[in-house]
């Protein structure tokens, strides 16, 4: 079982600001997935990263997989209130998720 550590645990910012959240492990991932969960809903898959050093963009969201495939980051540019939610990471083949980063974007 790979232990996934996410940071920060909580993040509250103003609309328009940029932010980065992290998902780290001491183990090597074959691939890693990011999810966003909005209140009252289940998590929704945002992206899967597979290759070390890979960068994927989803509109204002940029996902990066570390070269050693032990860590990943999610950067949001010009955050909007609609980005508010719980951001979770999960490693392929491991049913366990990180504890998540709870993001609040204030208008």
């Amino acid at each position: 079982t790979q232990l996934l550590e996410q940071s920060p645990q909580f993040l509250s910012i103003q609309e328009g600001e940029n932010l980065t959240v992290y998902c780290n492990s001491s183990s090597v991932f074959s691939s890693l997935q990011w999810y966003r969960q909005e209140p009252g809903e289940g998590p929704v898959l945002l992206v899967t990263v597979v290759t070390g050093g890979e960068v994927k963009k989803l509109k204002r969201l940029t996902f990066q997989f570390g070269d050693a495939r032990k860590d990943s980051s999610l950067h949001i540019t010009a955050a909007q209130p609609g980005d508010t939610g719980l951001y979770l990471c999960a490693a392929k083949g491991d049913m366990r998720f990180g504890a998540g980063t709870r993001l609040t974007v204030k208008p």
Binding site: G42, L45, T48, L88, M95, G98
Partner: protein, 113 residues
Amino acid sequence: GAGVSQSPSNKVTEKGKDVELRCDPISGHTALYWYRQSLGQGLEFLIYFQGNSAPDKSGLPSDRFSAERTGGSVSTLTIQRTQQEDSAVYLCASSLDPAHGYTFGSGTRLTVV
């Protein structure tokens, strides 16, 4: 169906009663997972079914919790003699291939009073 369906969406039960939570996965998804999410917390893995293999029960918190999956499709999570600490949102997810991620239902919010 088009998505993962869970029922009921909300359940209030008295301490000591048994409850059953239902999950209808996406048709054709061979893998099914149950998670528990306490208020303001992340996801706690409970149990995993994959095809006809024996389920991975390593996340079940006590022997009051059990789950079954009939015909490789619908799953029921049963909590016996409910306690107040069982209050949480119970989420079900299914997957055709874990590499492509999980599809979650909206969950069942269980409140034990």
